[in-house]
């Protein structure tokens, strides 16, 4: 037992030294072999990413109320926490925490309780492969784009379960609509994700992001007109797949009271919403990664700051700025989603299905074949106008080689090679 604790202390020590960027050969090898170091790192990553759900929801609900208020010519919350009411969501959270938790007699009690767990877990697990900056990702996967789509698709199970288990007809209708809508919109969504994968030749989200380094003209949305159109199809389908207005038929309050969460109250209800806001951020983040230059700003300012130096700290500073860039761009897309919600009226179910099957699917196919032809015929694109992309990419990637990041990149390369051979 003493030996075990001794090992544990050594592992923690090695991990912390590794985090601090001291990469002596000894420490690196120790960290590679120590599962406790990996576990601790994973737990820290999970704790950080949990804030996307927890803190993200607090911020986005506040933003939603403010934006909604302004759009409707009101002020929105103004009292709690000063002039802008920015503590409103926290006050709401406390209120929800103190509300009575009701489960109807007719509900399937077990499934009713399981549903929020499913939603939150799926919405949270999608963040495993979402990089916030170069190497700042829990798990750098060579099938990242595919993985994130697959895991995000699981969130719908929570909603279906919630609707089915409630024992209410409103809930059941809401859940069935949600199921039909989400699985239909997965198709055009995935086809739009294929476009950047085709342009870069990789499903690794980090690789796709680094391809867009440099000036904003390098962003894949500006590659050609088809890619430009594809982004907007992606965004439309993204709104539909996270079940936001104008596609929020599952919770259409004018028809179904509250849809799948009619019978939910208090904290259980808010957890279902936390999952939804988390997915909103993930879909926006994926859009930013694939089309909008990921963590690179419109101008390559920080590339020039870090080029020519070997300082790991400076590179991490650049990565921090990159992370802020990414969060800012994703949040902007979330704000656009909120804007859309309070501007457009809700569609009917037949319009939603027509929109998907008769417009989005053919349009995304046209977009995909357009981009393919553009590439095959080697038509010059706006991306080629910018200064040499590879130089900038290499600088950025070189600088962020802490022992841990380097290690994970090597792993990916190994796996990449094995897979294709």
């Amino acid at each position: 037992m003493g030996q075990f604790f001794n090992n544990l202390l050594q592992d923690i020590n090695a991990f912390l030294w590794g985090l601090a960027g001291y990469s002596s050969q000894e420490i690196t090898t120790l960290a590679e072999d120590s599962w406790i170091g990996y576990l601790l790192a994973a737990i820290i990553q999970a704790a950080l990413l949990l804030h996307v759900l927890a803190a993200g929801t607090v911020l986005f609900t506040w933003a939603e109320r403010k934006v909604c208020g302004r759009i409707q010519d009101r002020l929105g919350p103004t009292r709690v926490g000063g002039k802008f009411g920015w503590l409103q969501s926290i006050a709401d959270g406390i209120k929800l925490l103190c509300k009575e938790d009701l489960i109807p007699d007719e509900a399937d009690s077990l499934l009713f309780r399981i549903a929020p767990y499913l939603s939150i877990s799926a919405s949270f697990a999608a963040l495993i492969v979402l990089p916030f900056s170069d190497g700042w990702v829990a798990q750098q996967l060579n099938i990242g784009a595919f993985f994130i789509l697959a895991i995000m698709g699981l969130e719908v199970f929570g909603v279906i379960l919630a609707g089915y288990a409630s024992g209410s007809k409103w809930s059941l209708y809401g859940a069935m609509r949600e199921a039909a809508q989400v699985i239909s919109y997965e198709i055009p969504l995935a086809m739009c994700v294929v476009v950047p994968v085709l342009l870069v030749g990789s499903m690794n989200l980090g690789t796709i992001a680094n391809y867009q380094a440099g000036w904003f003209t390098n962003w894949l949305i500006f590659h050609d007109p088809f890619a430009f159109a594809t982004f907007w199809i992606y965004f439309t389908c993204g709104i539909a797949s996270v079940n936001r207005a104008p596609f929020d038929l599952a919770e259409a309050e004018s028809e179904l009271v509250a849809g799948f969460h009619t019978e939910y109250s208090g904290m259980r209800w808010s957890l279902l919403f936390m999952a939804e806001y988390g997915s909103m951020f993930t879909v926006s983040g994926l859009g930013v990664l694939l089309f909008l230059g990921a963590w690179y700003g419109p101008l390559p300012i920080f590339n020039s700051w870090t080029s020519g130096t070997e300082s790991w700290y400076l590179a991490q500073m650049a990565n921090l700025v990159g992370c802020l860039n990414f969060v800012l761009k994703s949040s902007l897309l979330v704000i656009v989603m909120i804007w859309v919600r309070w501007t457009l009226p809700r569609l009917r179910i037949d319009q939603v299905m027509t929109m998907c099957l008769k417009y989005c699917v053919p349009l995304s196919l046209i977009g995909l074949s357009g981009v393919l032809l553009w590439q095959l015929l080697a038509i010059p694109s706006l991306n080629d106008l910018a200064p040499a992309r590879s130089d900038l990419t290499e600088h950025w990637a070189e600088k962020s080689s802490s022992p841990f990041v380097k290690d994970s990149q090597e792993k990916v390369d190994l796996f990449d090679g094995r897979n294709t051979q």
Partner: protein
């Protein structure tokens, strides 16, 4: 005992084997699901300490705007949802095939473009292409080709051919599916509102017929 556990886990997380990344991905998934569930549980437990609990028979009823409910809520729902599910299966399988194909096409086009762009006179002209060739399984290490014998032009033309053939293959594959899609569209299966008459006319057609009959 503890060290045995430690060693076995170490072998799982060993970075050198090809299995390592998928195993650690599964470990990550388990961990994230666990932490997500713990987050939900913690919130509900804290709420349990704070919230009141005053049960009442009326609180446990289903909410239908104040009316008492009629019958069970586990009802049959519309067959149209199954049609949507069938459509989804067909297209989703198709989209799954798009991803590996897109990677290969992307790499072939990158290879072609960079091979054309490289100055052939330089001594290490093939060096920039090595990573992409290796990713496509064409590195000299895999003994399929020897790079020294192939000129840049040949590589570029080969990559070009691969990209075009791949594109045509996918065109064939998609067009077979699109024939079915067109058939469904024509038949009216994509319409949400439709009649179940043998003629399978859409509701819009029926409505327009009715309109024309009116005086």
């Amino acid at each position: 005992m503890a060290s045995l556990f430690s060693t076995s886990l170490t072998t799982i997380f060993a970075t050198t084997s090809g299995m390592a990344i998928s195993t650690s991905l599964v470990a990550y998934l388990v961990l994230f699901v666990f932490i997500g569930s713990a987050f939900v549980l913690a919130n509900l437990l804290i709420g349990r300490l704070l919230r009141p609990r005053k049960p009442h028979p009326e609180k446990a009823e289903i909410y239908e705007c104040g009316e008492s409910t009629i019958g069970s809520s586990y009802i049959q729902f519309d067959i149209r949802f199954y049609v949507i599910a069938l459509l989804f299966i067909i297209f989703d399988v198709e989209v799954v095939f798009f991803f590996p194909w897109a990677i290969l096409i992307g790499k072939a086009i990158f290879l072609r473009n960079s091979a054309y762009a490289i100055d052939e006179s330089s001594s290490e002209s093939l060096k920039p292409l090595q990573p992409t060739l290796a990713e496509m399984g064409l590195s000299p290490a895999s003994q399929s080709i020897s790079l020294e014998e192939n000129s840049l032009l040949e590589i570029a033309e080969g990559a070009n051919l691969l990209a075009w053939v791949g594109a045509l293959d996918m065109l064939l594959f998609v067009s077979i599916l699109l024939v079915g899609f067109a058939y469904l569209w024509k038949r009216g299966d994509l319409d949400w509102i439709r009649s179940y008459q043998p003629g399978n006319k859409s509701i819009h057609e029926l409505l327009s017929q009715n309109d024309s009959r009116e005086p």
